[in-house]
């Protein structure tokens, strides 16, 4: 029993989900944010939300559910960050962390920001295809759209990213 609210039995399923999905989710979260520490925090948050979900996903659907939460959280992080950056004074000399250096520093942040700026469906397709490693068919099933639409969204996303990431190519 933890703090009188969470039973050990209730944690068994969550632990199983953690063992099965934590690593691919971390890859997804880090790729979407460009930040290792933030990515890990979002993954932890996703498991907390899974545990507290009033309508938990069907057995076998935990992975899709967790990916959706991580994607949503990363999207909200970018939206929130954009507002705060707009209202806050610019930092004098932001020093890159060791983790961001390991990810590729400026380029990792630029890629994450560029993907975050894509329209919803394009971003979702990029996240699931490139960062979660799903096939086009699996992406289509997860987003509830056709495989043709997935290909179209990926094509458009790559075209948009080519413009945005010009200096990093």
């Amino acid at each position: 029993m933890i703090d009188g609210t969470v039973s050990d039995a209730g944690l068994d399923g969550l632990r199983a989900a953690y063992d099965a999905h934590a690593r691919p989710l971390l890859r997804l979260a880090v790729a979407l944010t460009g930040d290792a520490a933030l990515g890990e925090d979002l993954v932890h948050d996703a498991f907390v939300r899974l545990h507290r979900a009033t309508t938990p996903p069907a057995p076998g659907a935990e992975g899709a559910y967790l990916r959706r939460i991580v994607t949503n959280l990363a999207h909200d992080h970018h939206r929130h960050g954009a507002v705060v950056r707009r209202l806050a004074p610019a930092p004098r000399d932001p020093a890159p962390s060791a983790e961001s250096d390991a990810l590729g520093g400026d380029r990792a942040r630029a890629v994450a920001a560029a993907v975050a700026a894509l329209p919803d469906r394009q971003r979702g397709c990029v996240a699931l295809h490139y960062f979660a490693g799903l096939t086009d068919v699996a992406v289509a099933a997860e987003l509830g759209i056709s495989v043709g639409s997935v290909k179209t969204h990926l094509h458009r996303a790559r075209a948009a990213l080519a413009r945005t990431l010009e200096e990093h190519r």
């Binding site: 933890i2 703090d3 969470v6 969550l14 953690y18 934590a22 690593r23 971390l26 890859r27 290792a36 993954v43 932890h44 498991f47 939300r49 545990h51 009033t54 559910y65 959706r68 939460i69 949503n72 959280l73 970018h78 939206r79 929130h80 954009a82 507002v83 705060v84 707009r86 209202l87 806050a88 004074p89 004098r92 983790e99 390991a102 990810l103 590729g104 380029r107 990792a108 890629v111 994450a112 975050a116 700026a117 329209p119 919803d120 469906r121 394009q122 971003r123 990029v126 490139y130 960062f131 987003l143 509830g144 458009r156 790559r158 948009a160 990213l161 990431l165 010009e166 990093h168 190519r169």
Partner: protein
Amino acid sequence: MTDVDTILREHADAAAAVEPAADGWAQIVARLGEEPPIVVPLVDRRRAGRPTRRVLLAGAAAVVVVAAAIAAVALVGDDGTTDLTPAESTAPDVTASTVPTTPTTEPPSPPASTEPPPDTTGTPTTTAPPVPAAMPDEVVAIVDTDGDGLGAVVRLGTVEGQPDGTGPDSEVRSVLVEDPPFPDDAPGSATGPVTLDLLPDGSVVYGICCEPAAGAVYVVGPDGGEPRLLGYGEHPAVGPDGTVAVFQLYTGVGTMDVATGRFTPLLVDGEPLMAGPDDWATGLTWSPDGRQLLVDWLLHDMEAGTSERIVELVDLDAGTRQRVALEGAAGGEAHGTFLADGRVAFVTGVPQGYDQEAVGTGIAVFDPARGTAEERFGALRITGLDTTADGGWVLATSEDGAVRAFTGADLRDEGTVARREGLQAAAW
């Protein structure tokens, strides 16, 4: 030069090399022992057709805390001193608009004893509708001319209503804003224009959606020219007196001065016009008299990982908020617009998913006096509704790039009046 496909794969590989923290599971378990955050819904998300609940005290307090935190960040300089000069002309103004409010706690309900029978004919229940003027001979539209997802702002000629699925492409009479219309580093430029409206002088105000910045609002003259960045916000909507309403994330709905871009939050019954902190407006529409506002909301339940689209009718004079919905209808609601008699047309059957575009399957009409709605059209694949300034016409854009006209009095279908592949939005 590295292609984008390789960049994305290398980016994913670098992310995959990040090892989970050794105590990751322990951190999650520790967080499970913490009290969950209090989530207070600011809008009733569950009961379609029922009036929305007013902003609850705790929710309002949270909003104030968020707003205060953002304001504090904005006002504290690098050296820790407080700068009372707004960082930008678009910083939220703490002085609210002069919207009269009353301490009403619930939207007005119709008296039970005078409840009329359901209206199945589409006959207006309030004032007589005006006779519409001739159909406007052109629309201003956002058209993705090259299929890259970014739109240009153009004027399209209209034709007499054609049966659905027929008729040639509309003539592009002029291009007001080229595609792509902004520098690469413009706020939100990756998404291009998504909504637009017309100012009284014929200028076009248009909004760029919300990623990664909180959206940006531009103005371009009636004949085009260099777009002017007006300020930050989403979904600009022009009222009858030229007042521009916009939505700002974490601040809510407010008005934006066309000359200065200064944003002033709208207060309804003394509270910010917003939903929850994770929610945002996806469309705004003024009533013909400028006393009411329709707000399309996209509500997020972050715990469940779900989203919901609703339409809310806000009476700025009475300080009330009323849910617009068709009882029993599947899916969400979006694209609310006013008919000439004060009733509200809106799109039903909109997918509720977070990533889904707001494409609905039909049009319904809501009567605020009765608090009920009736379905009028189905299977139309509607992407937007807009009413002419005189209330005489309602146009509906559809997924296939067609613009269909309805009379603004009784929503009579007059057929397709414009068409263009890649058409994303339109206004009269």
